[in-house]
């Protein structure tokens, strides 16, 4: 009999499950075949891709994918042929759709959950309303319209025995905007012993659990927050932290502004550009490269940003060329050597290694294939040391083209 694993694991890994799905270990007792695990992985990848595209600005990859990941392992052993899955249409945001008690009782009588992937697919095509109608349970019309946004179901503490507990099936429509490969129609939730099983309290409980999970994550993020108990105080800390970070940004920008009279503004800029040329391996006018970098997270729109500005920047750069050359040479020399000296350092030099990579070989061809891993600086060690001085004009031209 399929079983939930204990809640202890769940709570301890709540931090993980939002960012990377570790839900697969929650089903030790499921007789999962190899196909299942494959399916899970397929689900996972697909969902990650899908959730990036989901609808407008209320969904984020951060939010959607954990929900998906949470749901899929729950799904695989839990497709019941007797009860068609309830799939709700709606946003990728998940909400618990409580089924009326009749349905719960009906589900209770099933001995096992068939773990047939084909059934999953077929079941996934049913909508919640159709299912509710088919079940002909009286309270179902109350539940279905207006469709509440689907929520994820949270796992409940089992307590070891599956008998005598009400089981409620929740519905979730995973993606509408995929090409019809709908899986993950629903999620199982087991109500706690002695708790109300009507849809409202369940939904609210799920909502509360979601909020608590987020709060836990925030607690871990904000330093010094894990010891505090109580939502209001934690919120206080979070607010303080956000204000602190914003103030730090202001302060740092003030400092950077203050530093500029010493270093010429343009000098700093060209120095940075020299580094970004290599670091990012992005030619601003090159949309292809932009997509290479942005394929996972960002819209290609961000990469076309610079196209319109090349003219502006050309003018600024050309006007300050002599100064630039001088500073660039100096900086390049310094960074080149500095790189050699700081090879053994860890975190602070990660960024600096990036800059060295850029500055010492500015005219390494930009067509050179560059891995997206930043601190892979070792391959670039094979550059010519004397070069930085030799053709500054060429480098400036390349700067111009780059920018």
């Amino acid at each position: 009999m399929w079983k939930w694993s204990s809640d202890g694991m769940y709570s301890s890994s709540s931090a993980n499950h939002i960012f990377c799905s570790s839900e697969f270990r929650f089903h030790p007792s499921v007789p999962s075949s190899h196909a299942h695990s494959q399916q899970k992985h397929n689900h996972k990848h697909k969902h990650k891709q899908v959730t990036v595209r989901t609808h407008s600005f209320l969904s984020s990859p951060l939010l959607s994918s954990p929900m998906e990941d949470e749901i899929q392992p729950l799904l695989n052993p839990t497709t019941a042929s007797a009860s068609p899955s309830v799939a709700t249409s709606g946003a990728s945001f998940t909400a618990l759709l409580g089924l009326p008690p009749n349905r719960a009782v009906e589900l209770l009588h099933e001995p096992t959950f068939p773990s047939d992937p084909a059934l999953v697919d077929r079941a996934a095509r049913f909508s919640v309303f159709a299912a509710a109608a088919a079940a002909s349970s009286a309270p179902s019309p109350e539940v279905s319209p207006p469709p509440p946004p689907p929520e994820t179901a949270k796992k409940r503490k089992d307590g070891g025995s599956s008998n005598g507990k009400a089981k409620v099936k929740k519905g979730k429509h995973a993606e509408e905007d995929t090409d019809g490969e709908n899986k993950l129609p629903y999620v199982h939730v087991r109500a706690r012993r002695g708790q109300a099983t009507d849809s409202h309290s369940l939904a609210e409980r799920a909502r509360r659990e979601k909020i608590n999970a987020r709060m836990k994550l925030l607690q871990e993020l904000v330093p010094g927050c894990s010891k505090i108990s109580g939502t209001a105080l934690v919120l206080d800390e979070i607010i303080n932290h956000v204000q602190y970070l914003q103030r730090q940004v202001e302060y740092l920008s003030m400092r950077l502004a203050a530093v500029n009279p010493r270093i010429d503004f343009s000098g700093l800029d060209t120095f940075l550009s020299a580094t970004t040329m290599e670091c990012g391996r992005l030619t601003i006018g090159n949309a292809k490269v932009g997509t290479e970098l942005d394929q996972q997270q960002q819209q290609p729109v961000w990469s076309e940003v610079g196209v319109s500005d090349s003219d502006q920047m050309n003018s600024t750069i050309n006007s300050k060329r002599p100064q630039i050359q001088l500073q660039q040479n100096q900086l390049q020399q310094f960074w080149h050597v500095d790189f050699l000296n700081t090879q053994n350092h860890l975190q602070p030099s990660v960024w600096e290694r990036d800059t060295v990579m850029g500055s010492t070989a500015p005219h390494v061809q930009r067509e050179e294939q560059h891995s997206l891993v930043g601190p892979g600086a070792v391959p670039l060690l094979a550059f010519d040391r004397v070069n930085p001085v030799a053709p500054p004009i060429q480098s400036n031209q390349q700067l111009k083209m780059e920018l």
Binding site: L235, L245, M254, D269, T275, L293, Q298, Q333, F334, E352
Partner: protein, 216 residues
Amino acid sequence: MHVTKEFKKKTFLKQFLLGLHVSNSISNPISIQQRKNSIKLSADLAMAFARGRTHWTHALITKLGQKEENKSTLKGILGRRYEILMARYSCPLLYQKVQRRKKSVRSYRFSYNAQKRRSSALKGSCVRVSPSVVARNLENRRTKVLKRLVPGGELLNGSALLSEALDYVISLKAQVDMMKSLWRATQVSSSSNVELVPSAPLQKKDASCTIANSEE
């Protein structure tokens, strides 16, 4: 982290640089305040671009775009996307913001008065509220503050607000770290500029060697 810092570094730097260039070319900043503002603007934009497409990034960009002094810079940076973004996101946000504010003020006052009335009627003169209500009030107040802090937070509720805040905190941290390292870089390079003399490469290398060693 769902956003790899590698991405963020490169994109952030690139965007930051872009922003600095544009703001510098458009209006040569004279005072430190202006420079600071332009730097901050570029940094915020760079952070938003580096993060990608989330609710708060859009809200942040819209907010920045609505200020008069930033418009030219934004136009320069975004190019033709500027018009589209402004058109798409300015109206609904404003509208919803206004609506929500009205609703919240009304409901807050109503609930508070009702509560006072109820409690005073029952208990006499002093206003006594149950601890759960107190907790809820505290939480509500703090949620309101958080909504104001997080860009675009006014429209969100509950778990969505918390997740956006989470995202925002992560990106802010990354932004701060990037700016710190930029600051360190300028420090280092400025100190090196003082020492170095543009001469033969070998000599220069020796000079910079000693400097680097002394810095370590």
